[in-house]
Symmetry: C2
Subunit: 217 residues, 2 copies
């Protein structure tokens, strides 16, 4: 039986591939693991059946028989550990790749999400315009450091890994802001991620859900 | 040879155990691994020698021979994987414990850090008082969900794991805010973490660094 993931029935990102199920879909495609999807309405996400799977009432979750996981980072790591293609075999290189997974989620994503949340939730507040440079500066600081660390390399840690998968996923949220354009190395890095056939298949799958949901009846 | 971690020479938290080296010290103590510490000034953290270890110029790092890691979550996972006591042996329970590690760092820590950062960096801004309820509400939402998920259990996932170590570490930052007092189950959970002998040893070690640094000359 294929594992089952959950995703938004109507993704608030309108099919742009920014919802966190995209990371799990991409990882599943990279390791060649077929999967099923359970689509959830916003209401269903807050109901006991889903809260039993995900204590914070979010997507994605991952079900594989008796095993139920949440947190996209944990799901990607689980897939990477039991398949080939997302973590190097060498123990040191593997530990470094996992370091980049945590860097994506705990160092790079928080300031990017704050900027994104402010744009959505605080756009009409009196302080929005004044705070924006502060939020952007926090993101820029990290992008500068990340760009220097990547340098001219193709991926963060030699070959493509789950660290790149999460880092590219996190950086993609910046595309509409134009912030990424100021770091050509990072822009090219994100483009390399998007060009991977596994990414393309995952993107098409989540886009198909959005399109199906937005078809006039 | 013992592994070497880096920590603040003068921790901005004044020895309260909130700097991220504390998580790594705690994990090292849980698994009974002796370690050495390299203390860094704020200036040394921005110099090439340290940036080669940590692309974002932060602490902690972890050196074990040729292997150099950064990101406290990745270091704790590395220690948990090669020792006993921080991850269950059963494969499903292990994957669940790792899920809680990611939940601590990617779901619970970001709103807590935002509240903490606003208190430090935006306290004198005109919008600070107006924004505070919004920041506190984001934290409260997660605490409510986490408290319900923990229920009357001692730890998040059966026995104590690296998931609890990171979750308790993240929640500790809330102690001065009083927010934790509104969730007695979580308060008791954090107290159970602090009561562990390994936590106590780690706390004493980082406190000794602070005390040594603040001795009048």
């Amino acid at each position: 039986m294929s594992p089952i993931i959950t995703a938004f029935e109507h993704s608030p990102d309108r099919g742009r591939g920014l919802a966190r199920d995209m990371r799990v879909r991409w990882a599943l495609e990279e390791v060649g693991q077929p999967y099923d999807v359970r689509l959830l309405s916003f209401q269903a996400m807050k109901e006991p059946a889903h809260l039993a799977r995900h204590p914070f009432g979010q997507i994605p979750t991952y079900e594989e028989g008796e095993l139920v996981l949440f947190e996209s980072g944990a799901i990607v790591l689980h897939l990477a550990e039991r398949s080939e293609g997302l973590l190097p075999c060498d123990a040191h290189a593997r530990a470094r790749a996992i370091t980049w997974m945590f860097a994506a989620l705990n160092t790079i994503e928080p300031p990017i999400m704050e900027l994104s949340l402010a744009r959505i939730l605080e756009r009409h507040e009196t302080w929005y315009e004044q705070r924006l440079p502060l939020l952007e500066e926090r993101v820029r600081k990290r992008l500068g450091e990340l760009g220097r660390s990547l340098g001219d390399a193709e991926w963060l840690n030699g070959t493509f890994s789950a660290g790149d998968l999460l880092m590219v996923s996190v950086l993609l949220r910046l595309k509409p802001s134009g912030l990424l354009d100021q770091y050509p190395q990072l822009g090219a890095y994100v483009a390399r991620g998007e060009a991977r056939p596994a990414y393309q298949r995952a993107f098409a799958a989540q886009w198909a859900v959005f399109e199906a949901g937005s078809t006039p009846e």
